[in-house]
């Protein structure tokens, strides 16, 4: 008789305890949700998530700029999410997160991703918000690279174009003008190397490691010879003699000793450091390098010239377009505020700050003549025509896949285990397979 109430109590205790747990859980959940600004009702205003690669320059003006933006837009806060600087890793990050519709508000995308991301339906069309009257203030090539079928999906934030650096002092000593053709470059490099009698002095440094940067170098050589991997109408033209010759020339740079063998392992920084230490006559890189060559402790300070990349006979002096644009992903919950942030960050004031602090190269025409900016970066006006001559890599949603096909093939040519003819033949088969064209 005594046991009965006890049992009953026990049984009753259970739901009570469950209820307590439930309450606790609910409390925790509420706490968690409360912490997540974007999910909460908009009484506190909006929080924008801004995702971008790490800013590598001498200083990072971005946090200061974002504070300024917040001060100008009461109720809007910006949360930065910084990714590693490598473009491949960022691409992978976006692949996973944009496919999962993570609610980012503004993201910085590499020029080569735009067609792919648009085709995947990840980016918002900015036609309605980007006033047509403001568009011509930006350089045309990066603006087009951020558009698909004439509709803007992003605003150019910073841009890049391959340039040729050369040692003014060495060229002057031998009475040379900066080379206009690659044959001239090779001839000058050999003469200077012979004359200087310095075994550590290399002729021409560029990027030949198996990665995207090497593909960029190869595109520049191929274009300089009048060739194309894909014709403008999308046909595969990789087997054309202009392409074969250009690749053969790159290999010969190494075999003839104009470029050291290790360019086949070089990325931007490895080759830049060597040139920066005074151990090369010519160097192909992006304009960011000039700020480092002109740094106070640089051994080649004041001895570096910058000009357009040379050409081959029958080709033109072009370089590859690089750079990043700001875009709004589909998953954004605050597209209006996101647009405000984009227009602030791509505005003259913010671009100027990024140029001075982080060495970003501007995307607005006006800044290349800006008196304040050119006082600190006197090379800007001479960079302007180089930037305008930049050409985008094949504009197709399949670009990254194409690059993956070209990388091992071109690398095989550079290290000499495949002839250019064999490499383009095998690249052609794979490109046709990828693009679904018949042989």
């Amino acid at each position: 008789m005594e046991e009965a109430p006890n049992k009953a109590e026990l049984f009753r205790a259970r739901p009570a305890r469950l209820g307590a747990w439930g309450l606790l859980l609910a409390g925790l959940l509420a706490l968690l949700l409360g912490c997540r600004g974007p999910g909460a009702p908009a009484t506190e205003g909006t929080t924008l998530t801004f995702v971008h690669g790490k800013v590598l320059g001498p200083s990072d003006p971005l946090p200061g700029l974002l504070q300024e933006f917040e001060a100008r837009h009461p109720g809007v806060r910006v949360r930065q999410e910084t990714l590693p600087s490598s473009t491949d890793e960022q691409h992978q990050f976006y692949l996973i997160n944009l496919e999962a519709r993570t609610p980012f508000d503004v993201i910085a995308v590499d020029v080569i991703w735009v067609p792919e991301f648009v085709r995947a339906g990840w980016l918002r069309d900015l036609s309605e918000v980007f006033p047509p009257g403001e568009r011509p203030a930006f350089l045309e090539t990066p603006r087009e690279a951020a558009s698909v079928d004439g509709r803007p999906y992003g605003v150019p934030w910073l841009m890049d174009a391959g340039v040729l650096f050369y040692r003014v002092d060495l060229l002057a000593r031998y009475g040379f003008e900066p080379p206009e053709t690659y044959a001239e470059l090779a001839r000058q490099a050999r003469a200077i190397m012979e004359g200087e009698q310095d075994p550590r002095l290399a002729g021409f440094l560029w990027q030949g490691k198996q990665y995207e940067g090497m593909v960029v170098n190869a595109f520049e050589q191929i274009w300089a010879n009048g060739g194309r991997v894909l014709a403008p109408d999308g046909r595969v033209t990789v087997e054309r003699p202009e392409v074969v010759e250009a690749l053969g020339f790159m290999r010969r740079l190494i075999t003839s000793g104009v470029s050291p063998g290790w360019v086949t392992a070089a990325d931007e920084e490895l080759s830049r450091r060597s040139f920066n230490a005074g151990r090369a006559v010519f160097h192909r890189n992006w304009p960011y390098a000039i700020d480092l060559f002109e740094a106070r402790d640089s051994p080649i300070r004041g001895k570096v010239g910058m000009t357009r990349l040379p050409r081959h006979p029958g080709g033109e002096r072009v370089s590859a377009l690089g750079g990043w644009s700001l875009t709004i992903p589909r998953g954004s919950r605050h597209p209006e505020a996101a647009w405000e942030l984009i227009s602030f960050l791509t505005g003259e004031h913010a671009q100027k700050a990024m140029a001075l602090g982080a060495g970003f190269k501007p995307t607005r025409h006006a800044l290349y003549q800006d008196p304040e900016l050119t006082r600190y970066q006197p090379y800007l006006p001479s960079l302007y025509p180089l930037m305008q001559a930049a050409r985008p890599r094949p504009v197709t949603p399949y670009y990254l896949m194409i690059s993956q096909i070209l990388q091992p093939e071109w690398s095989a040519v550079l290290v000499g285990i495949k002839s250019p003819e064999a490499a383009v033949a095998s690249a052609k088969v794979r490109l046709l397979h990828l693009l679904g064209q018949s042989r």
Partner: protein
Amino acid sequence: MTRRPGAWPFLLPAVVVLGAIQLYPTLAVFWLSLERRIPVFEVAEFVGLANYRFLLEDPRFWQALGTTAYFTVVSVGLELLWGGGIALLLHRRRRLRGLLLAGFLLPWALPGVVSAKMFEWLLYPDGGLVNSLLGAAGGPAGINWLGDPAWAIHAVILADAWRTTPFVLLLVLAGLELIPHEVHEAAAVDGAGRWRGFVHVTLPLLAPVLGVALLIRTIDALRVFDVIYVLTGGGPAGTTETLTVYAYRTFFGTLQFGYGAALAVATLLAALILAGGYLRLVAPATRPAAEGA
């Protein structure tokens, strides 16, 4: 094996967990490998074995398979030699042993990416420490460690062996400690010298441990990724591209999830076949030792 009636409820959690984190993903990847699927472009169609047919004709796959095999054989061989050798030396030593052991184990504690980055700096062709030292010692100047197909694969193997040798060292050292003194004494009494003692007593008693080390390291080496991804990215000319690197690039570089899955399944099959072979070799060696101990 005796069947106990009450075993299932106890086994169930393990079975469920293993099923969820092992079996289900494996089957899902296999299913994926039967599709042509580029999710971001909303391409998804069932293609049966087409991916496997393409794989058989894909020279890049065969090259990756060959590279993986070469990498595995050479790096595991080096690790066994170095790990075993250092273990033998440490086993005899009493003084400073803890300190030395800690020093030797350090590389294993480093994340693979960090040690790969370190080797990248050491092996820089222009101004890297290794080339500077070689130059100063009058050796060959300016070896293109990571850009020359003949050197690159060996540079990668070296970096991997450096990091994983401590694991073999630890296993072999433990194995050596387990061999009773009496056995060595008996061999000495019977007139066996150091070499004969090593070959006929130490080595056979160590065989099970060596077998286990070999098995674990081989399967690990087959799946190598971080060292190669950081050091060479698979280059030059794809000569250091292993199956996992190729699968990764197919997945995330070219977004071809179906074909990437087929590559992953091929890697899994290679590991299974090897593991099966090893187990047949190692298992008979383990049993008598286990009973003897």
